[in-house]
């Protein structure tokens, strides 16, 4: 079963535990600036929205890479950057429609979410379950249940 990160922005409080967990997992330091997941705080509406790579099947970044530094992790389906191969040309950052692959000045390579090999630190750290790691085929199941409850789980009409 393929799993994916599922984001429910309504539950996000903006605490940035996910950003710290991501940086700590990958760099051993608490640096939100190095995180591969970002939380956006929309002040006018009060909404906080985490955003990261959705691991496209036909990944723009992977196809754009001239040196084939981005490959598929067969276990998780994640598109993974091989730092030893990456030349830092940044073409993938232009190709990605979502902005979720980015250049890292200190390494001279690009970075993106790799699902932490199947145990994403961001999802583990999230205190409100705004970020979960779930069956990729059933990301809609929570909403389906809500509507099923609203429409069907009621006393029968007399």
């Amino acid at each position: 079963m393929q799993k994916m990160l599922h984001i429910n922005a309504d539950k996000c409080t903006g605490c940035l535990q996910c950003e710290m967990a991501c940086a700590f997992e990958n760099y051993g330091t608490f640096a939100t600036a190095k995180s591969r997941i970002k939380v956006f705080n929309f002040h006018e509406t009060g909404k906080k929205v985490p955003y990261t790579c959705t691991q496209c099947d036909e990944a723009w970044c992977l196809h754009a890479c001239p040196v084939e530094a981005i490959t598929v992790d067969k276990a998780t389906g994640a598109k993974v950057v091989n730092e030893a191969t990456c030349v830092g040309c940044k073409v993938c950052t232009i190709a990605c429609p979502f902005g979720t692959i980015n250049y890292v000045e200190t390494t001279g390579k690009v970075q993106k979410c790799d699902l932490c090999g199947g145990d994403p630190a961001c999802a583990t750290a999230c205190p409100t379950s705004a970020i979960t790691y779930v069956d990729a085929n059933w990301t809609g199941i929570g909403k389906m249940e809500q509507w099923a409850n609203k429409l069907g789980n009621q006393p029968a009409a007399a």
């Binding site: 409080t13 903006g14 605490c15 940035l16 535990q17 710290m20 967990a21 940086a23 700590f24 760099y27 051993g28 330091t29 608490f30 640096a31 939100t32 600036a33 190095k34 002040h43 006018e44 509406t45 009060g46 909404k47 906080k48 750290a125 205190p127 409100t128």
Partner: protein, 615 residues
Amino acid sequence: MAWAGKILRVNLTAGTVKSEPLNMEWARSYIGSRGLGTKYFVEEVDAKVDPLSVDNKLIWSTGPLTGTMASTGGRYTVITKGPLTGAIACSNSGGYWGAEFKMAGWDMVIMEGKSAKPVYLYVNDDVAELRDASHIWGKSVWETENILKTSLQDPLTRVSSIGKAGENGVLFAAVVNDMHRAAGRSGVGAVMGSKNLKAIAVRGTKGVGNLHNPKAFMAAVNEKKKILAENGVTGTGLPAMGTQVLMSVINEVGALPTRNHRDNQFEGAKDIGAEAMATPRKTDGKKHLVTNQACFGCTIACGRISKMDENHFTIVNKPQYRGANGGLEYEAAWSLGAANGVNDLEALQYANLLCNEEGIDPISFGATVGAVMELYDMGVLTKEQVGIEAKFGSAQALAFLAEETVNGRGFGKEIGQGSKRLTAKYGHPELSMSSKGQEFPAYDGRAIQGIGLAYATSNRGGCHLRGYTIASEVLGIPVKTDPLEHEGKPELVKAFQDATAAFDSSGLCIFTTFAWGLADLAPQMQGACGDQYTTEELEKIGERIWNMEREFNNRAGFTAKDDSLPKRLLTEACKTGPAKGKVNMLADMLPKYYAARGWDKEGKPTADTRKRLGL
């Protein structure tokens, strides 16, 4: 070791910015944030200094746990000698600024001297420089943040700044970051303004690492986060209702100071508390409360984000107040509401937004308006003097006086001096509900005996955050004590004060102590900083910090007679509720408190106490 190991020293007179190694000996003995920043301050500044003079200094200080994954690890403290009180001032703020500054690789910044022209400090990792602030001088906190983020072309910049109130020398001006988080009390913003310093804009990409034992740290952090999540207050009450959950609770125990402490219960409490914020308004059918909001690293998320009624009289033709914005928290809802007898929730939020926008402390502002309304009620102040009919309960007067105060106009200039100076000017100093010149927060010291003693002995003047005995006396945390009973409170107050000083110095938020004690802080400190930070050591450090602050105040000229409460709390009994007939028993508690502290009759730490604490 979790400390960045470097501090910035900025001389505003000379225009220089220098990097210095952190004094690790002091860091080990005073931890960080409140304790360590205060240690630097008391070592470098003469206690007799005029707070608004060039010789006062102003320190932004983070803790070793600031910018880590320890829950609530995003806090910083602003330390100076306070212009409102003349005592040590030490105001703590959340939001994101503190963590960003720490992640830039700095533990603190010390501001010295006074700039000839308005400047701001720009910090981007190792780059730190003073820049011209003429384009943002005269702007609000909100405008300042937006202008700096736009002109620096970096939306990820975090800003700690003052609004017009700090520039104008309002004695309870705040330093505000992230639009609506504030180092709120004692007038730290006025000191910033007096130095022609507008803001500190920070971008930090280095992060916080170098932990003593990363594995042990993460294990402790995860275990302690679980405790917060499972606790009724930190896991359920605060995220759902915020600090506003207290409004009805405190009113029921008869400890909600009302109309400048004339009364101790407010008939309008239900209109301004958590339930009112979550109930659809009659006017437009929408709820005031939009959502909750966490500060950096916080797994509690008590912050409130609200939207006002667009047709409310206060914001007609003022679209800047229509979006989602910070508030109301309990203290502000009380000070702007019950303290003045105002039960119009929308008007309270409007005044609260002005406090955030231009940077003033809503507690001191609201409480000072309460004193003005009492003087008006007595006929001492007139409509001509105040500029409006300042009757208790008038939402119009509250909104008007908030505008006048933040903009430095008319009678607002007098309110900006705080209640102590204002009531003295009009011949009624007894009507200032304050200790050491700082106004009390939202708990009546007659109905809750321990908090009265905590107010009287607080090192920064009237304050609930130096020793929040409400936790024990009302909420039963960690053990329930009788709020009406004064026996045993001196020891309780001391224990809360010392533990709070340790938490404040770590970089974590004091709200964790609804679920945690020092025994929960210890393993996180040990993982981050070193094995010596046992529960007992943290307790001792907290007591050391408390005594250090006390000795600064003693050198500044404070004596035992300043550990006082207004006559009203000592002689005018509570009129209603469970505390009916009660006054605060300070005269009985204070000598016992001094004894528990190891102080002499003048309130000075004895030689034995100084030696025991390594002072």
